[in-house]
């Protein structure tokens, strides 16, 4: 059972459970502070996916979850960005 975390430590504990339960061992995880600054900056609640390009700009953003949270769309966005960057490089 998962309760609303009251401290950052509890939030980290929930995140550990999440990583184990979902098998996310290879993905680095960051924990948002209790002020939820990251969530607010990206309007990310309850879940969302964002692709940032190498210049630090937003290349693609999913619709808000839960129904807008479609991981395969991230794959398509990555492929598109790779293709775009490759074309730029080849044209130089």
């Amino acid at each position: 059972m998962i309760e609303e975390p009251l401290t950052l430590e509890e939030r980290c504990e929930n995140a550990h459970h999440c990583k184990e339960a979902l098998g996310l061992g290879v993905i680095p995880a960051l924990i948002d502070g209790l002020d939820n600054a990251a969530e607010r900056a990206y309007e990310a609640w309850p879940n969302r996916i964002v692709l940032i390009d190498a210049d630090g700009r937003i290349a693609w953003r999913s619709k808000p979850g839960p129904l807008g949270f479609v991981p395969i769309e991230l794959n398509a966005a990555i492929q598109r960005e790779v293709k775009r960057v490759r074309a730029l490089t080849e044209n130089r």
């Binding site: 929930n14 999440c18 995880a29 692709l51 700009r57 290349a59 999913s62 990555i78």
Partner: protein
């Protein structure tokens, strides 16, 4: 790169309600609401039984953790995780949490629950948003006896097979919309709540209103051509591995980065 805000759904409503909210999404393989039906509300027997099992497990977990004197009930003093969390568990409002509280259908926080429930009840299981005007008309039209108000019986008769196990759908609507506390929903109450909820004034009921909507602004989701890309907001977060504070930009350096924001309940 994954940014986790653990327990956001459960954080709004406590353990059992989070499970119920998840069941809303799972249960919505059901057809849209049948306004002409006289069927009594029916949920799949296996869904009800499964939900009951979940709630029994939840009670045992809560009792083991918080019922320190072993008297079969959890007081606010024993629970000690804040007023909101306790109130969400104490579903009958008698001041203690017992097994019977978890056996009751949960009233979701209306700001979360109504956008979860209504588009799917009227627009089908995949509906994420619903236009407010026809939604208000459709909900008000459940008034079968013509008294100008929708009762719990009229609502449940119409919901039929769409009733998600463990969720008090009508109670959730009342919690948000029933301004005069008569336990009935009038057309003005329905319309007012929907209008008030539509903070971005796009005429749609959605789980999240856009905070950054501006007239003529570029779309906020989808692909962005390079000339239209905005800088990714930086933020400070904590690495799960060692708790070290870090900036997103420091981690990214000059590489592309994917952020996967999630909640875990």
């Amino acid at each position: 790169m994954r940014v986790l805000r653990s327990g956001s759904l459960s954080g709004r409503a406590g353990i059992a309600i989070a499970a119920a909210a998840a069941l809303v999404l799972n249960a919505c393989g059901s057809p849209p609401i049948d306004r002409g039906s006289d069927r009594a509300p029916v949920t799949r027997p296996d869904a009800r039984a499964e939900h009951a099992q979940h709630m029994e497990e939840a009670w045992r977990w809560l009792a083991a953790r918080y019922d320190t004197d072993g008297d079969g009930q959890i007081t606010a003093h024993e629970h000690d995780r804040g007023e909101t969390a306790f109130r969400n568990l104490d579903r009958d409002g008698d001041g203690v949490v017992t097994r019977s509280d978890l056996a009751r259908d949960a009233v979701l926080p209306p700001d979360l629950g109504i956008p979860l429930l209504l588009p799917r009840l009227f627009g089908g299981s995949q509906a994420e948003v619903a236009p407010i005007a026809p939604l208000a008309v459709a909900l008000a039209s459940l008034d079968r006896d013509g008294d100008g108000r929708v009762s719990v019986a009229e609502f449940r008769r119409a919901v039929g097979l769409g009733a998600p196990a463990g969720i008090d759908g009508f109670g959730t609507l009342l919690a948000g919309m029933d301004r005069d506390r008569d336990e009935l929903l009038s057309a003005p109450e329905i319309a007012q709540w929907l209008l008030d909820r539509d903070a971005d004034r796009d005429g749609l009921l959605a789980m999240r209103e856009r905070e950054s909507s501006r007239e003529g602004a570029a779309p906020v989701d989808g692909w962005f051509e390079p000339e239209a890309r905005e800088p990714a907001p930086d933020f400070a977060a904590f690495a799960l591995a060692d708790g070290a504070p870090t900036l997103r930009s420091a981690l990214q350096q000059r590489r592309p980065m994917a952020l996967i924001f999630g909640s875990f309940t």
